[in-house]
Amino acid sequence: MSLALDVLTILSVSTGAFFFLAGTVGLLRFPDAFSRLHALTKADNLGLGLVVLGLLFQAGGLLAALKLVGAWLLALLAGATITQLIARTARTDRSTM
């Protein structure tokens, strides 16, 4: 049972890490603010989500699991907001240029 959980954790966290990597490459390689943001949100949503999912299998109890999910939800909310704000600023900057 614990072996199965460990395998699930490894799979899930590795996939999450891949999305982080992809997101970072996108951030560095993509040409403008909007596509960079697009890349970043993947790292935030999926990457962190998968890492949290992987850790859930290792969480000792319900409270710890809830805290993990809470952290993910907060990060999602913050990420979505920041993305929105950056995009807005980028649009204003472009239109004034």
């Binding site: 907060l74 909310l77 913050a78 907001t81 929105q84 704000l85 807005r88």
Partner: protein, 310 residues
């Protein structure tokens, strides 16, 4: 071990980049990353209380403060190149700093074994304080005088910052008025997040007596929520002349002093607690202190009054 080596190299790399970066804004971003990585190091060093403080205060609030400053100073970037020190000075500085680092490193390697420690004494006296977290016991009992003076240090820094206001703006509102949030995104998130954040801040403070956390960490989160609320224009900073604001700022150290002096009567010494009531007294101090620190930290970020009252 491999993880630690990697982490140490990453910390050093980010630090070097922060020093070397041409753009100040970029350097500040580097500093925020540096702080978060240091928080990880603190976890590795089995100091979760410090990790929380580093993440919230050292990286978060300090980072926010410096980001704000660098955007306001953005227009002065060009003039910096003029005053650059000569190559000789730079080389001499590099040699000096290498020597300092090498010396410190050598001393770290030479530190005595077994290491001298106060952990046994701190643990043995923990029961007398009624606390479960030895770090909180150091801050609130064994070395309470440091903590007490530190709350005053924060207040003095605030008095210093306020005293920078031009005379005609004295008594006014600190900092700039943030621009209106047109799409309401920030407002929406703030409405959602600020209550959660306040809850988290109170929890972190409350849990500090038995687990990692405490008044400084909790107060920092509360301060961040205050700043967030003003950024989203949910609320505005109060004018610095408000009597209630002054009371909020001072109540923490005042209660700390009062209970400390009461110790002369009830426990035979300044800042001494009778064993039976130690935990209750410490909590009685911590609640107002958390409130005062939170308000002070938020106002320290806010800066001197910049808008006249009415």
């Amino acid at each position: 071990m491999a993880f630690d080596i990697g982490l140490a190299i990453l910390v050093l790399g980010v630090a070097a980049w922060t020093i070397a970066a041409r753009d100040t804004f970029a350097a500040v971003i580097g500093f925020v990353a540096y702080g978060l990585l240091l928080a990880l190091v603190w976890v590795r060093l089995a100091a979760p209380d410090v990790a929380l403080t580093e993440a919230a205060l050292g990286s978060g609030l300090t980072g926010g403060l410096l980001l704000g400053a660098s955007t306001r100073l953005a227009r002065t970037q060009g003039s910096a190149a003029i005053d650059k020190p000569s190559a000789i000075i730079r080389r001499a500085a590099a040699v000096l700093c290498t020597l300092v680092s090498a010396g410190l490193g050598a001393i770290v390697l030479l530190l005595p074994e077994p290491a001298p420690t106060l952990a046994p004494q701190a643990a043995a006296n923990l029961a007398a304080t009624g606390l479960g977290n030895p770090v909180t016991a150091v801050l609130m009992a064994y070395r309470a005088i440091d903590t007490l003076l530190e709350t005053v240090v924060l207040l003095l820094a605030l008095v210093g910052i306020w005293s920078l206001a031009p005379d005609q703006l004295w008594g006014g509102l600190p900092g700039r008025r943030y621009p209106v949030d047109r799409d309401g995104v920030l407002t929406f998130v703030a409405q959602l997040l600020v209550p959660v954040g306040i809850l988290v801040g109170i929890y972190i403070f409350w849990v500090g007596s038995i687990a990692p956390g405490g008044e400084f960490q909790g107060a920092t989160i509360l301060a961040a929520m205050w700043i967030f609320a003003t950024m989203a224009r949910l609320a505005d900073s109060p004018a610095v002349s408000r009597r209630w604001l002054r009371l909020v700022l001072v109540v923490g150290p005042a209660v700390f002093f009062a209970i400390g002096l009461a110790g002369f009567a009830i426990a035979g010494g300044f800042l001494a607690y009778p064993e039976a009531h130690a935990k209750l007294l410490i909590l009685t101090i911590e609640v107002p202190v958390t409130l005062s620190i939170a308000a002070t930290l938020a106002l320290l970020v806010g800066g001197p009054p910049e808008r006249a009252l009415r």
